[in-house]
Symmetry: C2
Subunit: 480 residues, 2 copies
C-alpha cells in the first residue's frame, strides 16, 4: 500500500503550482522557481501555475484557481502562506488531487501553539479527503525518471541512489556534489516537517524500491522511534543505508526544532540505533557523499592492503600516514617490483619512494607512468589501489604547457588499473591556483566517468574506504 | 652566529644556477625553472646561469663554469647530479661562495651506502671550505623580501609567517593555499635531507627573527632530538609554532626515509615532545593552513561562546553540531534579540532558527541582513562569531542574476562585524557548480582582504578555533 500511495508523489501525471507570481522569478525560491525548474527539466505532464490574479509566466497561462484547470491534477506544489492552505486543501479535494507538497513554513517549526495547531489541522483535513501531504516547510521531490524536480540544474539522468532529506538546502548540496563525482539519483525527497509523509514511510518505500540500490538520509528527528527502528533494520538488511543525523548536539537540536519542528532525540540513542541496525552513520554532508561514492563505485574489497601510488615526496609520506591512521595496511613491495620501478626512474633525481607508498614524481611527464603503474597494480599482495595527485605542489609554467601530457598520464593510470583488475580510489585535492583550476576538474571528471570513486583528499578517501571495509566485515558477521 | 651565517641564505647579493640547459624550461623542475622564477619574482641581484655548453636562457648569458662569472657569487643553486657536486664545491670555494643549495637527490635518501657516503663527503668538503649546504634534495628558499623564490608564482609580498618544510612540494601547496587566504610569508625553507643546515638551526634562527611572528613546519625527522627539544621549547615560548610531522606511521616513516633519508622517530615520542614544549601539532597540510590562518587573523578570544550566523536550515543545524562537537559553546540569545530578529523576518517562510544558531535564509537578498547581524553580533553574551555561507544549497538562476546583491550582503556582514568589535570567522565551502564557482572565490577574497580568517568548511573553522583557544588557555597555565 505504501508503494501505491507514494507512487503519486514520484510519478504525477500533472502538476499544479499554487502561488505563482506573473512577475516571474522573484529573488527567492517560490512558485515561479518550481515552474521554471519543471520546464527546464522537461517534465512531460501538464504544468499549471495558479494565482487568483491570473496572467502568464514562462509562456504558461496562470489559472485563477486550481478548480479552473481544465484537466485533472494529481500533484500540487503549494507556495502560498500557511493560513491560506486549509482552503486550498478543500479546493484540491474537489479537484481529486492526490498529493500536496507544501513549501511554506509557519507551522510546528515556529514553536508557537498556533503553528502547531495549524499543522494538525491541515493534516486532519487532508486525511479526511484522502490527500497525502508532503511537508510543510519542504522543497519536495526530485525524481529524474519522471522529470520532476525543484532545482532547474539537477541532472536529468536517473541512477541507483536515493536520498531522504529533511532539509531542502542540504539536498541541493548533496545532489550537486554527488553529481560531479558520478552519482546519479533515483529519488530525492525533501520532506520538511513530515506532518504526514515522514522519514519512516519513505524509508520503507525505498527499502522495497527496486530502482534504489543505496539509501542515504539526512534527518533531524523521527516521529515514531520504535517503528523507525523496525523499518531501518529491514532496510539496512536489504541495502546500504547511510545516515547523517542533524541535531546531534544540544544547540543543533535546538536549531533542528526551529528548522523542521523535529525532536532530535539524544545522540547516544541514535548512535546505538544506527549501529545495531547496521546502518552507516556519517558526521557531515561531505562524508555522506564520500560514503555514497564508495558504496557506488567500490566492489567489496577482499582486505585492507593498499598500494599507494602518486605524486610528490611529502604528499606520499602524508598519504601513507593518512591510510595507516585509518587502519589500512600498506605492504612493502617485493624487492623484484622495487627493482623494476628503479629501472624506470631517472638517476639523480629528487628522492622517491618505491617500496609502497610509491612516489612517481620522477616520472612527471615521463614515459614510464604506465610501466610503473602496471608493476605496482599487478602485485598480488595488495587488495586495492589509492592513486593521488596534488596539482599545486610543482612548478606551474611547466604544468600550464602540458595539458596533453597530463591527459596521457590519466589514460595510462586507468589502463593499468583496468588491466590489473584491482579496485582503485582516486584522491585529488581541490585546485588552488588559476593554473590548476583550469585542468584539475576535468581530470577528476575523467576518473569519475571511468567509474572510479573520486575524493577531494587522501584523508577522506582512506576514511571512507576503511569504513566501507568495516561495513562489509560487520555485515558478514551479522549474517553468520 | 646562526643569524649571520644564515643571512646569506635569505639575502644573497647574487645567485648562480648551475645546471641550466639552454633549451630553456624543460618538462621538470630544474635549473631553468629557477632562472625563470627569479626573473619573474624580480630578484634584484645578479642571476648567473651556468652550463659547460654555454649559450643563453631567458635572455641571460650561460657561463661555462662558476669560475667564469665576472662578479662575486654568494649563493649557488645546484641542479647538476650528485656525482658532479664535489667538483662544484671546489669551484665554489675558489669563487668565495657562501651557500650551496642542492636540488639533486641521489644521496642518503636512496638508502644505499654510496648515497650515504656521498652525502657525508660533500658535507665534509663544504665544511672544510666554510661553505654552508642546504639540502641535498630540496627546493631551497622563498624569501619575498629579497625577491628570492623557487616557484615563479609565489606572492611577491612579505608577511609574518615562516615555514620550515622538509618537502618542496608540500611547501608549494601550503604557500599557495595560505596565500589565497590572506597569509603572507617572511621566509620559507625547503631543506630536504638536511646534511648541514637542518630543522633545528632554522627553528633557532626563526625563533630570534623579528620578522617572523608565527613559525610553521613540516618535518619528517630531526637530526638531534635533545637539541631540537631545547630549541623548540624556546621557540614555542617566543611565538606560536605549528608543526606537521610526516612519517607518523610505519609506512609513512618508510616513505620519509626514501624521501629525505629522515629517521622519523616514534609517533608517541613526537606527540609528547610537541605537547610538552607547547607547540601545536596538526595532522594535515589543510589543518596546518587552518591553524596558521587562525593564529594570523584571530585575536586572543576571551572564551568559547560563539554566535553562529548563516544561511540554510539544514546547514545551520549541522553548523551547531560541528561547533558543539569541537567544544564550542552556543549560548541561546536573549528573547529580546530573538524578538528583534523575528521583526526583520518575512512571515510564513521556510522555518528559520533565531535562538542561536541564527538562520538568515529568510533574508536571501532581503534588506535586513545588516540589522539581523547587528542584533546578533552585538550580544554581550558571545565571544566571537562564526559566519557561514554555502552557495550550493539554493536555486541557481536566482543567484546567477544577483551578484550585486551578494556583494551588498558581504559588505553588510563585514560592517556589522566591525561595529560590534567581535572577532569573526568565515566558513564558505568549496563551490560545486559553474554558477557558484563564478562568484564564491571572489567572496572569499573579500573576507580575507578584510583581515578575517576564512575556512573551507564550518567543521574546519570550529576545530581550528577550538584548538586556538586551547593553545591560549594552556599558554596561560604554563606561565602561571
Amino acid at each position: 500500500m505504501v508503494k501505491q500511495e507514494l507512487d503519486h508523489i514520484f510519478n504525477p501525471k500533472s502538476v499544479a503550482i499554487v502561488g505563482v507570481s506573473s512577475q516571474g522569478l522573484g529573488l527567492q525560491m517560490g512558485g515561479a522557481a518550481y515552474v521554471e525548474s519543471l520546464l527546464a527539466c522537461g517534465f512531460k505532464g501538464g504544468i499549471y501555475p495558479v494565482n487568483p490574479k491570473g496572467g502568464e509566466v514562462f509562456g504558461l497561462q496562470i489559472y485563477p484557481s486550481i478548480k479552473d484547470i481544465p484537466e485533472s491534477v494529481d500533484y500540487v506544489v503549494c507556495c502560498i502562506t500557511a493560513e491560506q492552505i486549509p482552503v486550498l486543501i478543500q479546493d484540491c479535494a474537489a479537484k481529486g488531487v492526490k498529493v500536496i507538497q507544501i513549501y511554506a513554513g509557519g507551522f510546528s517549526e515556529t514553536g508557537t501553539e498556533e503553528g502547531k495547531q495549524l499543522e494538525k489541522d491541515i493534516y486532519a483535513l487532508a486525511r479526511q479527503y484522502g490527500i497525502r501531504l508532503m511537508g510543510p516547510n519542504c522543497l519536495g521531490v526530485y525524481h529524474p525518471e519522471a522529470k520532476l524536480t525543484y532545482f532547474s540544474d539537477l541532472p536529468g539522468e536517473s541512477g541507483p541512489v536515493s536520498f531522504i532529506c529533511q532539509s531542502g538546502g542540504n539536498s541541493g548540496y548533496v545532489v550537486r556534489e554527488a553529481a560531479r563525482r558520478g552519482i546519479k539519483f533515483s529519488k530525492v525527497i525533501s520532506y520538511g516537517n513530515a506532518c504526514d509523509i515522514n522519514e519512516t514511510e519513505l524509508l520503507e518505500f525505498l527499502s522495497a524500491d527496486s530502482n534504489t540500490k543505496i539509501i542515504t538520509a539526512y534527518m533531524e528527528g523521527v516521529k515514531d522511534g520504535r517503528k523507525f527502528k523496525k523499518v531501518l533494520e529491514e532496510a539496512a538488511k536489504a541495502k546500504p543505508v547511510i545516515i547523517l543525523k542533524g541535531g546531534a548536539s544540544e544547540a543543533g537540536s535546538r536549531a533542528a526544532t526551529s528548522h523542521t519542528g523535529a525532536l532530535a532525540g539524544t545522540d547516544r540513542v541514535w548512535d546505538a540505533l544506527l549501529y545495531q541496525t547496521g546502518a552507516v552513520r556519517v558526521s557531515s554532508l561531505e562524508e555522506l557523499v564520500d560514503m555514497t561514492v564508495t558504496f557506488s563505485f567500490m566492489p567489496v574489497l577482499p582486505g585492507r592492503k593498499a598500494a599507494i601510488f602518486g605524486w610528490g615526496g611529502g604528499a606520499t609520506v602524508l598519504a601513507a600516514d593518512d591510510c595507516a591512521g585509518e587502519g589500512l595496511v600498506i605492504p612493502r613491495l617485493p624487492q623484484q617490483i622495487q627493482d623494476e620501478l628503479e629501472g624506470y626512474m631517472q638517476k639523480g633525481k629528487i628522492g622517491v619512494g618505491l617500496s609502497n607508498p610509491v612516489d612517481i614524481s620522477d616520472q612527471v611527464f615521463g614515459t614510464s607512468v604506465y610501466d610503473c603503474a602496471k608493476a605496482v597494480f599487478g602485485y598480488e599482495g595488495i587488495d586495492f589501489i589509492i592513486y593521488h595527485m596534488s596539482a599545486d605542489i610543482g612548478h606551474y609554467p611547466t604544468l600550464g604547457k602540458v595539458d596533453a601530457g597530463i591527459s596521457v598520464i590519466v589514460e595510462d593510470i586507468i589502463k593499468a588499473q583496468r588491466e590489473s583488475g584491482k579496485p582503485m580510489a582516486v584522491a585529488i585535492p581541490f585546485p588552488i591556483s588559476v593554473h590548476t583550476q583550469e585542468f584539475v576538474p576535468s581530470i577528476k571528471k575523467i576518473y569519475s566517468d571511468a567509474g572510479l570513486p573520486v575524493y577531494h583528499s587522501l584523508g577522506n578517501a582512506a576514511k571512507a574506504i576503511s569504513r566501507f571495509i568495516d561495513y562489509h566485515e560487520r555485515k558478514k558477521r551479522m549474517l553468520e
